[in-house]
Symmetry: D2
Subunit: 336 residues, 4 copies
Amino acid sequence: MTVVDTIVYRPVRDELAYTFGGRMPVAHLRSGDVLEVFTEDCFGGRVRGPADLPSQVCQMPYLNPVSGPFFVEDAEPGDTLAVHIMSIIPAREWGVSSTFPHFGALTSTSHTATLQPPLEERVWVYGIDRDAGTVRFQATETDHNVDLPLEPMIGTIGVAPGGFETRATIVPDTHGGNLDTPLVRAGTTVYLGVNVHGAMLALGDGHARQGEGEACGVGVEIATVTTLAVEVVRKTPTVWPRLETDTGIASVGCARPLEDAYRIAHTDLVGWVADLTGMDTLDAYQLISQAGRAPIGNVCDPNYTVLATVDTALLPGGCAAYGGVHARLRRAAEPR
Amino acid sequence: MTVVDTIVYRPVRDELAYTFGGRMPVAHLRSGDVLEVFTEDCFGGRVRGPADLPSQVCQMPYLNPVSGPFFVEDAEPGDTLAVHIMSIIPAREWGVSSTFPHFGALTSTSHTATLQPPLEERVWVYGIDRDAGTVRFQATETDHNVDLPLEPMIGTIGVAPGGFETRATIVPDTHGGNLDTPLVRAGTTVYLGVNVHGAMLALGDGHARQGEGEACGVGVEIATVTTLAVEVVRKTPTVWPRLETDTGIASVGCARPLEDAYRIAHTDLVGWVADLTGMDTLDAYQLISQAGRAPIGNVCDPNYTVLATVDTALLPGGCAAYGGVHARLRRAAEPR
Amino acid sequence: MTVVDTIVYRPVRDELAYTFGGRMPVAHLRSGDVLEVFTEDCFGGRVRGPADLPSQVCQMPYLNPVSGPFFVEDAEPGDTLAVHIMSIIPAREWGVSSTFPHFGALTSTSHTATLQPPLEERVWVYGIDRDAGTVRFQATETDHNVDLPLEPMIGTIGVAPGGFETRATIVPDTHGGNLDTPLVRAGTTVYLGVNVHGAMLALGDGHARQGEGEACGVGVEIATVTTLAVEVVRKTPTVWPRLETDTGIASVGCARPLEDAYRIAHTDLVGWVADLTGMDTLDAYQLISQAGRAPIGNVCDPNYTVLATVDTALLPGGCAAYGGVHARLRRAAEPR
Amino acid sequence: MTVVDTIVYRPVRDELAYTFGGRMPVAHLRSGDVLEVFTEDCFGGRVRGPADLPSQVCQMPYLNPVSGPFFVEDAEPGDTLAVHIMSIIPAREWGVSSTFPHFGALTSTSHTATLQPPLEERVWVYGIDRDAGTVRFQATETDHNVDLPLEPMIGTIGVAPGGFETRATIVPDTHGGNLDTPLVRAGTTVYLGVNVHGAMLALGDGHARQGEGEACGVGVEIATVTTLAVEVVRKTPTVWPRLETDTGIASVGCARPLEDAYRIAHTDLVGWVADLTGMDTLDAYQLISQAGRAPIGNVCDPNYTVLATVDTALLPGGCAAYGGVHARLRRAAEPR
C-alpha cells in the first residue's frame, strides 16, 4: 500500500497569484502527493450579481487568480510534471458569466482592433445544482431559462515558464496557463514540461461548464475545491501541454491565428503517436488525419487553444504514455 | 400519402463538373423529389493503389468532381434549398487517401508558402467493410493496422454562387461547396441559400470518414450512391450554409484565418438562436458561449471550415427551423 | 519604326463587367497595340455627394465595374501577358471615398464577424487639381482640409482565372483583380499569367491615391482614361501577378491571413531573383531579407495584398525580366 | 544652456539581459540625460563566420541580449518615456546574418508547425564600410556580391511590461521589445508607456540594415554604440509604442495574425491624429486611409510588427505630439 500525503491549501486573498513564474512557492509537494486546493473564480469572487460589472468591480491586472505556486520536489528542467485531476467540486451554489468590453470572440478586441464601440457589458448568474448535475441559464431580457449539464473543469493550470519569463495567468502557452479546455476535468492527467527547479505548479479559473471556444470570453465561472495528484516523470521533456484520459490522448496548441494552434497540436500529436506506436511519421499523420478530433478550447485569450486528440482504442498496439503514469495515478486516486 | 418522384442519376465521366456555377443542369427536381445520385471520389477514381500518385494520375483542375448541377424548380434567389441526406452508400469496397505536394494542414502550401520542399507524396488504401461498419487503416512502412468506424459523409455539396461567380469545387464558401464536415451525413438536412434561378445543386467528394480538420488534406475518399430529398423554402434567405439533425442545429463558416470561420459560424448561430427562441441577441450569445460546440471541418481547403452547433434540447422553447422542413423530410425519408 | 495600333474603348453602362471570366470580349488586341480605355469608378459613378450613401445608391453585385474584357491575340495558357501602364488620367474633377457598412480594416466585417453594429456610413468628396497635382481632403465634421499628392493608380486589373472559374471583380488572386496597390501606376508593367485563350484582360477601379492597406476599404475613387500597351510573352508562365518599374521588380501575394500574402509574395520574389541572377535560392532569400521592401496593398478585400519588391540596382548582375519586355514597352510608350 | 549629463555604459558579458522586466537596474537616468550605450549583437557576438552556426554556438534562451535596464527617475506608471535616438554607430567592421532552423517568414516554424525538415542553416558575413555608408552582401554559393546602403537601426528597445510580467527580449508587444522596424534609427524619438516605477529601459539587437519583414528572421546583426536622450512625459499614458521623426509620426502594432498588427497600429494612429488635430474620428480614419503608410517591421518574431505612419505635413494644423518633446530632444541632440 502506498502512503499518500494529502496537502490541503486554501489561499487568503493576498496569496492569490496573477502570474506563472516570478512567485515564491506557497507549499511543497512530492511525487505521489495529493493536493486539495481551493481556487477562486476568474473575478476573484467580486462578481455576484447583475450590478457587479467586471470592468468596474475588478481592477487590471488582478484578474484570473490562481492558487499556488506549488514547488514539486525533484522536478527539474527536462522533466515532465504529471498532474492527475481527481475531482473538481464547485465551491458555491452559483456561477457567473459576463460580456466584457472588447473581449471575446464575437467582438472587436484590443488586438483585433476596430473603431467600433464595445458591446454592452452584462452579467449572467447561473444556479448550480450539484445533486441534479445542472447549471441553470437564465436569460436577462426575457423569461427563457434552461438547465445545462454541470461539467466542472479547470480553465487555468500551468507551471513557471522557461527563459526567465513571467506570464500573466490570462495567457495560455507552452507552460500551460489559461488553456480553457473542457478536457481538463476530473479523470484527466495533464502533462506539463518542467522549465524551472520545482516546476511551480499553480491552477485556478474553474468553470461549471463552457462552450467550445468560450465565445463571449467568459465561462460559467466558479470557485472550486480541486483535488489532484502529482508525479514527476524524470528526464522526459514535454514541449506543449498534453492530456491523457482513460480513453484518449491529446496535445494542446496555443497560438494565433487559430490554424497555428491547430498545426502545433496536430504536429505534436503526430509525433507522439509515432513514438508510442512505432509507426512512421507519415503513417501517423495519415491515421490522425482520419481518426483525430480537434476540439477548440478558447478563441478569446491572448493565445487561442486547439487540441488534437485521438482515442487510444484507434491506435494500433495500444498506448502507455509517459510510462503509464496516468493509469498509476488513476488507480491511486480511487477511493480506498 | 405523398407521391414522391425518385430521380436516379449516374454521370458518365464527361458529365462530371468541376465548378459550382457556369454549368447547364443535368436534370430537374421538384420540391419533395428524391434523388439517388452516384458521386465519384475526389480523384475521379484514378487513384487505386500506392503507385497511383495523385499529382501524376490526376490533372489540374480535374479534381474533386461533383455530380450535377440539378435544377430545382421554383427555387429563386432569396429562397433556401433544404437538402435532406437520406443515405450515403460507399460504391466500392475500398477508399483511398494520400498526401499531396504542398497541400494539407501540416505542410507549407501554395498560400502558406515557404522555401521548403514538399513532404513525400504517398497513397493509403483502406478496405471498407460495410457489414462490419469499418474502414481498415493499414500503415505503409510497418505492419500496423486498425479498424476505424465507417462514417460516410459528403465532402462537397452546394449551389451556384451569386454575383455571377463560378467557383472551383475545391472551394467552400457561402454557396456551400467543399465544406468537408462529417456532419453532412445521413440524417442531416443541409440549408443552402439560393443565388440563381433553379439553385443548381451539385454534390460529390464522399468520405468513408475523416478526422476533424482533414489534416493531411485528404479524407478516406470514396465514390458513393447518395440519396437525398429536396424542398424549397420560399422567401427565406440563408447567408451561410446551415445544417439540422434530429438533435441539433449548426451554422457553417468558411474563411481564413480559422478564427474568422469560427466568428462567422458563431455570429450566424447566435442570430439564428435569437430568431428561433425569441431571446435577446446577447442572451443568445451567452447561451451559445456555454452550450455550443465548434467542430472544425477542414484546415486545408482554400477556405477553412468551422461549425457552430448546439443541441436543440438546450434551447429554451424548442426549435422549428425553416418551418419544420427537417422533420417533414425526415419522415418522408423513412421506409414506407 | 514600329507601327502601333491604338484602340480606343469607352464602355456604355451596360457593357461594364463585374467579373473576371465568364464574359465575351469587347475588343481584340495584338501584341504591341496601345489601348486607351475609359474606366468607371468603383461605385459606377453613382456616388457624387454626401447624400449618396453607397449602400443605398449601389446595388450588389454591381460594384467595382471593369472595362473589358479584351481578347489578346496569340495569348494562350502558359504565356504571360505584359501590360505596360502608359498613363492614368482622372476623368473628372472630383473623386469620392466612403465608409461602407461592415467593410474595411478598422471595423468588423462579413468575415471578421462580430455582434457589433457597423460604423456610420459617410461619404467624402475630394477635389482633384490635375495642374497642381493634388487631391483635396475636406473633413466632414470640422473645417480641416489638406492637399494630398495626386498619384493616380488602377485598383483592379486582371485576366480570366483558370480552372473554369469566374471571380467577382472585388477579389484579388492569382489572375490579378482587385490588387489595390499604388504601384499599378503610370510607368509600371504588370505581368499576368494567361489562363485562357485570349487572356481576357480587363481593368477599372482607379484611385486618385490611396494609403497603404486602404484602411477604410475605399480609396479616392475616380473614373479614368487609362492608356496601356500589351505584349504576350510566349511560353513563360507566371503564377502570381508581378510588376516591373524602371527601378524595381515586385511580386504580388493575395491571401488571408495577411502573413500568407507576405509569404506568397516573398517566396515568389526569392525564386524570381534566383532565376534572374543565377544565385542559389538561400542566397536570394538572404539578399531579399536585407534589401527587400514589403508594401501592403489592401487589408479590406476578400484577399489581402502584400507586395515583395526590390530595387534592381541592389541585384548583382542586373535584371532583364521576361526578356526585357518592360524596357521595350517603356520605350514604345514614349512620345514620338 | 542646459546642463546635460552623459552616462556611458558598456556591459560585461554577465550583465547582458535576456528579458524586459525581472531585472535590477544597471544605472539611473534623469530626464534630459544622454546615454551612450554599447549593445551586443543578437548572437552575443558568437557568430563570426560561416562555421559558427547559431544553433550550435548559441544556447537558448541566451539570444538577443539587451543592455540595461536603466532606471529612469520620476518615471511612473501612467507616464510616457520619450527616448530620442541620437546616433547608432556599428561597433565592428562586420555584421552577420543567418538562417535558423524553423525560424523566419519563409519556413515552417515552432508555431506554424509542419512535418517538414528545416531549411539549411547558413551564415552570411557582411563587410561594413562606415565611410562609404555601405554593407556588402556576398553570396555563399556563387561569386555574386552587392553593396547595400548602411542604415543602422536598433531592433529591440523597450521598458518593463505591466501586470507583473517578464518577457523574453525576442518578443515585441505593448512594452516595446523586439519591434524590428528600420524606423528606430538616428533622429527618431520612441514613445513607450511606463508600466513600473523607473520604467526600466533597455535596448540592443542593432542591425546594419534589414528588409521589411526581416524575411529570413535575422537582419544584418551588429554590435553598436548607441547614443540617446530620455525625457519623461508626465501623466500621459501610451498604450502601444509610438515613434516620431522630423517628418512623421507612427504607431506600432505587435500581434499575430499580421492583420491584427495592422489593425492595432492604425486604430492607434487614427485616435492619435484625431487628438492632435481636433478632427472627428471618422474624418481621421478617412485621412489616414488615403495618406497613411503601413511599413511592415517583422514577420518572424513571436508577435509580428506593422507600423501605421503619416507625414505630419499631411495633417491639417500641424502636430505637436507629447508637448513637443521630439523637437526639444532633437535640438538638445545637436552638436553644441
